[in-house]
């Protein structure tokens, strides 16, 4: 059934490994519906926050009569409001994500990222949160706003199936644009190799953080990128720019790895300085293990 090919992204092995783990917002989120995540608003949860003076219009049942007995003042009790969370998955669809690994035992970067996005979307929807998908290169290509319905998962999967990688990566303008289109605070999960100027990438992160979003960065690299296993004199073509470099990969390897490590360090450092969660993902790692490991680590971190 070709029209159902997008269902392949719902890998039962992945889903079973993460279904029991909660993806809980670390920061306050602004949701429309009551749910499990903390909100900046007061509501009707069981979590008491504080008292305030009674003002006309308040419901009398909210008056704390014990406080009135002690202070002879009408005080109203306020409770936290718990709402659902908007999870926006920001997926890099630039040319660099189209890399096909040397080893046929591994899947490509975009494929890996799509599985990851599908798994996280499923997890969000499974816990009654809203999930949305944004693909980008130098700008936003496709924007699927977060929704809470189960049918929305199918829409996300269909969009994942239709991604055609291409173009360069421009994270800062994307983040600026995204900050405008996501008015409510929520969770932004970035899945990208971040092959842009490192300072611009970090600036983009800061913009999102400034809007109150919790940003989770999965910097996704193929194992070949991390190890540089090439050994034959070749023409190396940049998948984003088409730029060609001829050289002896053996001789180039040392310089390449040093430059890569420096780049990754700057991204990680920038992300952490903004209070973001940063994870370097190697596609050689099984996806279920990567997600499970991250979610468990996050759970312990915020408990």
């Amino acid at each position: 059934m070709p029209q159902m090919s997008h269902l392949r992204f719902l890998d039962p092995k992945v889903l079973s490994s993460i279904a029991s783990i909660e993806l809980k917002a670390r920061l306050l989120v602004q949701g429309m519906w009551a749910s499990r995540h903390r909100s900046p608003y007061y509501g009707q949860s069981v979590e008491f926050v504080d008292h305030r003076e009674y003002s006309p219009g308040d419901e009398p049942k909210t008056i704390d009569w014990k406080t009135y007995a002690r202070t002879d003042r009408y005080m109203v009790k306020r409770f936290e409001m718990e709402s659902h969370m908007n999870v926006a998955i920001l997926l890099d669809a630039s040319g660099s994500m189209a890399y096909a690994p040397q080893s046929r035992s591994r899947i490509g970067k975009l494929e890996y990222a799509s599985y990851m996005a599908a798994g996280l979307s499923y997890l969000a929807l499974h816990q009654q949160d809203a999930a949305g998908l944004i693909t980008f290169d130098t700008g936003i290509r496709d924007f699927l706003p977060p929704r809470q319905t189960k049918q929305h998962l199918m829409a996300i999967l269909a969009r994942l199936d239709g991604i055609q990688p291409g173009g360069e990566t421009g994270l800062r303008p994307v983040c600026e644009r995204l900050a405008q289109r996501l008015p409510r605070r929520g969770m932004v999960i970035l899945i990208s190799d971040c092959y842009d100027d490192a300072d611009a990438v970090v600036d983009g992160f800061k913009i999102l953080m400034a809007r109150g979003h919790e940003v989770i960065v999965f910097q996704l690299l193929d194992h070949d990128e991390l190890e540089w296993p090439f050994d034959k004199l070749s023409n190396f073509r940049d998948l984003e720019t088409g730029h060609m470099v001829r050289g002896d990969p053996v001789a180039l390897r040392e310089g390449y790895l040093a430059n890569l490590r420096a780049f990754l360090g700057r991204i990680e450092e920038g992300a952490k300085s903004c209070g973001m969660t940063y994870t370097l993902v190697d596609t050689a790692e099984p996806l279920e293990r990567t997600l499970q490991h991250y979610l468990l680590r996050r759970l312990h971190m915020f408990r």
């Binding site: 720019t241 470099v245 001789a251 310089g255």
Partner: protein, 709 residues
């Protein structure tokens, strides 16, 4: 510098291979897509330059290896004037081993002088030279193939003994020698032809086989081929020689007298008394005293009967009180024994019971009396009598002669087999008898091409017939020229078949009234003879006379030799020479010059034919129209083979003309100066250089691989 194998430079095309591979390799740099190249830019330039440099260096090394190998294969030779070992040369010696090389000049025979010359050449040549030896007597033989050493050639020459009296196969030998070197690629390729260069060794003209070989060798080698024709011919004013040996029969048959005829000549310019001796197997047998006019060639005949089948060495010698440059020669005679004769007896059963009283019995007895009497065999013949029906069981090629006695007609298959055997060189003797029906014989045997004459029935002769003269121009009749004691004067015929010779047949013997008694015809390589009578005493008394056995043996010898009219221009003493010239040339007759130099003018008939009967002196006779140039001169011989008449040494111009090569020169042994060019062949050094470059290339490749690891 000379390239000895320049044609191999085409291998230089292989130099393109590494270049093409290099270009292909450059073109086929694999394109590898990577997510980003931003981390590679820093080191890109230095890496590519290094790789390209190594690549070009390796390419140059590979090209160098190939170039040196190609150059080594092309074998450059650098002439250096006075030093260096010189190139390896191919030297082929073609030696005339005919008896003319036994002629003595200044105390040494030609063959001894040839040996000394070759020894001198070997001493002055490069020790690594490749030698070959070809000997030429009746046939040319490769005594030592190319690659032998000079010492081996000298050893082979020491054992080479000239024994052959006929014209040497010098052309064939020269062609063999030239073919040997034509395929070689050395700088120096020399063919030495050592001979007296008699005219008869360069027949027939043009000498196409040798000329073609010479042309091919010249085309292949160009200036690198040198042909030395070294003449050891004795000077006429000082020498004399046995120049040939004839045998009366092509084959010497045990029990029959063999005629051995040494041919010798007086070249001194004075009349000489010459004693000619014959020795067989080292035992002196006969001697003759001969007076030789100045400049005359002479043939003397010795008759000797060999009693054992063997290879008999037969020697002739002149002197010792003869000419200054006396001579000695020897010939090996192959004495044949036990030739098989098949007698097909067509007499009806019952009539051939007693061998001595039947025709077939008389034939068999005459051919091999000893064996029939149980006393061995001294004639060398074995007669076997069969019935016509047994023919198909026999292999006819085992028999020299097939006698069809009293056979009217053979079955078609057998007749065809007999005819085929005759065409292949066997002899057929047809002896008709009472049983033969003439009409059927003519229809089946004569019309089939087997019989030389048709039969017209049996005629009784009253009074009895006597034999007329033999046809002396026929090889068979010629044998009766001097043998008066064996003539047929006592033989009479009371009955005979009337024979009508067919076209192409010759009546060798006829009765006095002209009735043919013996008719022969050539059939392919063989011959057929028909006796127009039965040998039974009721027909003729031939079998009762002493002429019967010799006649029958000569008939069998003639038929088994397959010889006929090919003797051509050779006649014997007393015979009449007949020739034919163009009628226009004959207005004033012809001049005949005999061996003594006497010239006689003979008138010619209207049809241009000439008859000359004054052939008393053995030797070479020259005939030409009166007033004509020497170019139209023809020669005939008396008591010589035709080819022996042309033993005159050839000159430069004649050799060039016959071998179609203007560069040929005839040199005396003294003029042949052994010299070899000096210089070096570089191929070894080029191979070493190629190996060194190859090692360097392998080392660089190892370093690159090691560095990559």
């Amino acid at each position: 510098m000379t390239l000895l194998n320049a044609i191999m430079l085409i291998v230089a095309g292989a130099l393109a291979v590494p270049i093409i591979l290099h270009l292909i390799y450059r073109q086929e740099f694999p394109v590898v897509n990577v997510p980003t190249t931003r981390f590679l830019d820093v080191t890109r330039r230095s890496n590519v330059f290094h790789l390209r440099l190594v690549d070009v260096l390796q390419l140059l090394l590979r090209l160098g290896v190939l170039a040196f190998l190609v150059a080594a294969i092309a074998r450059p030779f650098v002439a250096s004037g006075r030093w260096g070992p010189g190139p390896v040369a191919n030297r082929v010696v073609v030696l005339d081993t005919s008896v003319r090389m036994q002629a003595k000049v200044e105390g040494a025979t030609c063959i001894e002088r040839a040996r000394a010359k070759v020894a001198e050449l070997v001493a002055h040549s490069n020790p690594r030279d490749r030698w070959a030896l070809v000997t030429a007597d009746r046939h040319a033989r490769v005594a030592l193939p190319l690659g032998a050493s000079g010492a081996e050639v000298q050893a082979a020459l020491a054992s080479a003994t000239p024994t052959y009296f006929g014209p040497a196969a010098l052309l064939e030998g020269s062609a063999l020698g030239l073919d040997m070197v034509a395929r070689e690629r050395e700088l120096v390729n020399t063919v030495y032809v050592l001979s007296t260069f008699p005219e008869n060794a360069f027949q027939p003209e043009p000498c196409s086989r040798a000329a073609q070989s010479l042309k091919a060798a010249r085309a292949a080698l160009g200036d690198r081929l040198t042909v030395h024709l070294v003449s050891f011919a004795p000077k006429k004013a000082q020498d004399a020689a046995i120049t040939g040996c004839q045998r009366g029969q092509e084959k010497v048959i045990m029990g029959l007298p063999a005629r051995l005829s040494p041919v010798f000549e007086n070249l001194t310019g004075e009349e000489q008394q010459v004693k000619v001796r014959l020795a067989v197997g080292g035992k002196p047998m006969d001697a003759r005293q001969v007076t030789l006019p100045k400049g005359a060639r002479y043939v003397t005949d010795f008759f000797y009967t060999f009693n054992m089948p063997r290879e008999a060495p037969c020697e002739f010698s002149l002197g010792p009180d003869a000419l200054d440059a006396n001579n000695h020669a020897a010939a090996l005679l192959d004495i044949d024994a036990l030739d098989r004769v098949l007698i097909v007896d067509g007499t009806p059963d019952g009539e051939s019971a007693a061998p001595a009283t039947t025709g077939a019995g008389l034939l068999a007895y005459a051919l091999s009396p000893d064996s029939l009497l149980g006393q061995g065999n001294r004639t060398g013949l074995v007669a076997e009598v069969v019935r016509p029906g047994d023919l198909r069981k026999l292999i006819l090629y085992n028999y020299k002669v097939i006698i069809l006695y009293n056979v009217t007609a053979l079955p078609a298959d057998d007749a065809r087999d007999v005819l085929t055997a005759c065409r292949e060189g066997k002899g057929i003797l047809i002896v008709p008898g009472e049983n033969v029906n003439s009409a059927e014989f003519n229809r089946a045997t004569a019309a089939g091409g087997l019989a030389p004459a048709e039969l017209r029935g049996i005629h009784d002769a009253a009074p009895p017939l006597q034999a007329g003269p033999w046809m002396l121009s026929h090889p068979l009749g010629r044998q009766y020229r001097d043998l008066r004691s064996e003539s047929l004067a006592d033989v009479v015929w009371t009955r005979r078949f009337e024979a009508r010779p067919l076209q192409g047949s010759e009546v060798v013997l006829a009765a006095l009234d002209g009735s043919p008694l013996l008719v022969t015809r050539r059939v392919g390589r063989g011959a057929v003879a028909l006796l127009a009578f039965d040998v039974l005493p009721s027909w003729t008394n031939l079998a009762l006379t002493s002429s019967y056995v010799p006649l029958l043996h000569r008939l069998v010898a003639y038929l088994s030799g397959g010889r006929g009219a090919e003797d051509g221009e050779g006649i014997f003493v007393g015979e009449t020479f007949t020739g034919r010239f163009k009628p226009g040339e004959m207005a004033r007759g012809v001049e005949v010059r005999d061996p003594s130099g006497r010239v006689e003018t003979v008138r010619a008939a209207e049809d241009g034919s000439v008859a000359y009967a004054s052939t008393a002196l053995p030797g070479v006779y020259y005939v030409k129209p009166v007033g004509a140039s020497a170019l139209s001169e023809r020669a005939f011989t008396v008591n010589l083979r035709p080819e022996d008449a042309r033993a005159r040494p050839l000159g430069d111009e004649e050799l060039r003309s016959r071998l179609a090569d203007p560069r040929l020169t005839l040199a005396t042994p003294e003029e042949l100066v052994p010299a070899a060019p000096k210089g070096f062949e570089l191929w070894r050094w080029l191979v070493v250089a190629a190996v060194v470059l190859y090692a360097a290339e392998a080392l660089s490749a190892w370093i690159v691989v090691k560095k990559n690891d």
